[in-house]
C-alpha cells in the first residue's frame, strides 16, 4: 500500500475512535486538567496499556523496532512546560484539534491557526535554539528499562498495575 493511503486509513480509524471515546472536546480536555473528568486519561492509559504489551512483544520477536524520542533535558522540560500552559488555554492538543474540527467544534480552527504560527516561530528560532536550550544536555534516545538497567518485562507489569490502580481510583471517585 502507498504511504499516503496507509496514513489516511490509520488516521481515519484513529479519529473515529477518538470521537467515539468523546475525548476530542475542549470540555473533556480542560475537564481532565481541572481534575473533574478523567475520560481522556482513561482513554489514553487504556491505549498505552494494550499498546505497551503488543509493541514490546513484537519488538522482542524482531518484527518491529522501538523508536524513542531523545531525552534532551532542556528541550523536554521547557517544551513540556510551554506545551502544558498553551494546552490549558487552547483546550486541544495537536491531534485532537483537527478531530474537534471534524465533529463541528469549529473554534478549533483558531487553535490550528495558532499552532501553525507556533510552528513557524519555532522554525525561525531553531538555529538559535540548537546552540542554547537544545545543546544543554542530551541523554539520547533511551527507554526507562535501559535507564534503570532492568528488563522491560519487569517494568511492564508494574506500569500495568499502576494504570489499573488509577482506573480503580477514577471509578471510585466517579471522575
Amino acid at each position: 500500500m502507498n504511504e499516503q493511503y496507509l496514513g489516511l486509513l490509520t488516521g481515519f480509524l484513529f479519529g473515529f475512535l477518538l470521537q467515539k471515546g468523546r475525548v476530542l472536546r475542549f470540555d473533556k480536555q480542560v475537564g481532565a486538567m481541572l481534575l473533574q473528568d478523567m475520560t481522556i486519561l482513561k482513554f489514553m492509559l487504556s491505549a498505552i496499556l494494550v499498546g505497551m504489551i503488543g509493541i514490546h512483544l513484537l519488538s522482542d520477536l524482531g518484527i518491529l523496532k522501538l523508536s524513542h524520542k531523545p531525552m534532551n533535558i532542556g528541550a523536554v522540560v521547557l517544551g513540556g512546560i510551554l506545551f502544558g500552559a498553551g494546552w490549558a488555554v487552547m483546550g486541544f492538543c495537536p491531534g485532537t484539534s483537527v478531530g474537534a474540527l471534524g465533529e463541528g467544534r469549529w473554534h478549533a480552527i483558531f487553535a490550528i491557526a495558532g499552532m501553525l504560527g507556533g510552528a513557524v516561530l519555532y522554525a525561525e528560532l531553531y538555529p538559535y535554539l540548537t546552540t542554547t536550550v537544545l545543546a544543554w544536555k542530551d541523554y539520547g534516545k533511551i527507554g526507562l528499562p535501559a535507564a534503570l538497567g532492568v528488563s522491560h518485562w519487569l517494568i511492564i507489569p508494574v506500569a500495568c498495575a499502576l494504570y489499573i490502580g488509577l482506573f480503580a481510583w477514577f471509578e471510585r471517585k466517579n471522575l
Partner: protein
Amino acid sequence: MRRRPDDGGWNPYFAGALVGLLAIASAYATTIWLGKTTYLGASTTFVRAAGFIERSIAPDHVAANTYYTKEKVKVDWQFMLVLGIFLGAAVSSLTDRSFKMERVPPTWERRFGPSGARRAAAAFLGGIVAMFGARLADGCPSGHGLSGLMQLSLSGFVALALFFGTGVLFAHLVYGGGEK
C-alpha cells in the same frame, strides 16, 4: 462503572484499548510498507503544513531554513494521518448525531462569557505557545504521550508528566478550580 457515557459515546476504556490495538497494527504496517517502524504522532505535521504555507509566500526563505530542511516539507504518512483524524471524527460524529457546530465551548463560556472573538484570540495564542513547546519537546500527547509511554521511553514519561502537570496548574489559574 457506566458501560456507556450519557451522550451515546463508547466506554473510554474500550475505545482506548482499540486505539492500543490500532497503534500495534500501525507500527507493524508501517514497518512492512514504509520500511521503518513509525509511531502515531501529530505535531510534526504542523511544521510541514506551516512550511507549505510559508513556501507559497517566501520559497527561498523556507529552502534556507534548517528546521524545515530537517523535518522535510512534504505530504507524508503522518500528514495524511492528521487529515484522516479529521475525516474519521467527522464520519463518527455525523453518523451518531454527536456532530455539533460549536462557537464557544461550555466550560469556556462559564468563565469568560459568550464572546467568540475572545475564545478565538485565546485559542490562537494558546496554540502558538503549545506548538512551540511541542516542537521544542519534539512531541505532543500523541507522539510523546501515547507512543512514548507505549515504548516506555524516558522522554515520554517526563514530557507527559510536564504536559499534564503544567496543564493542571494553568487550567486552575485560567478557569478557576472547584466549581463544577
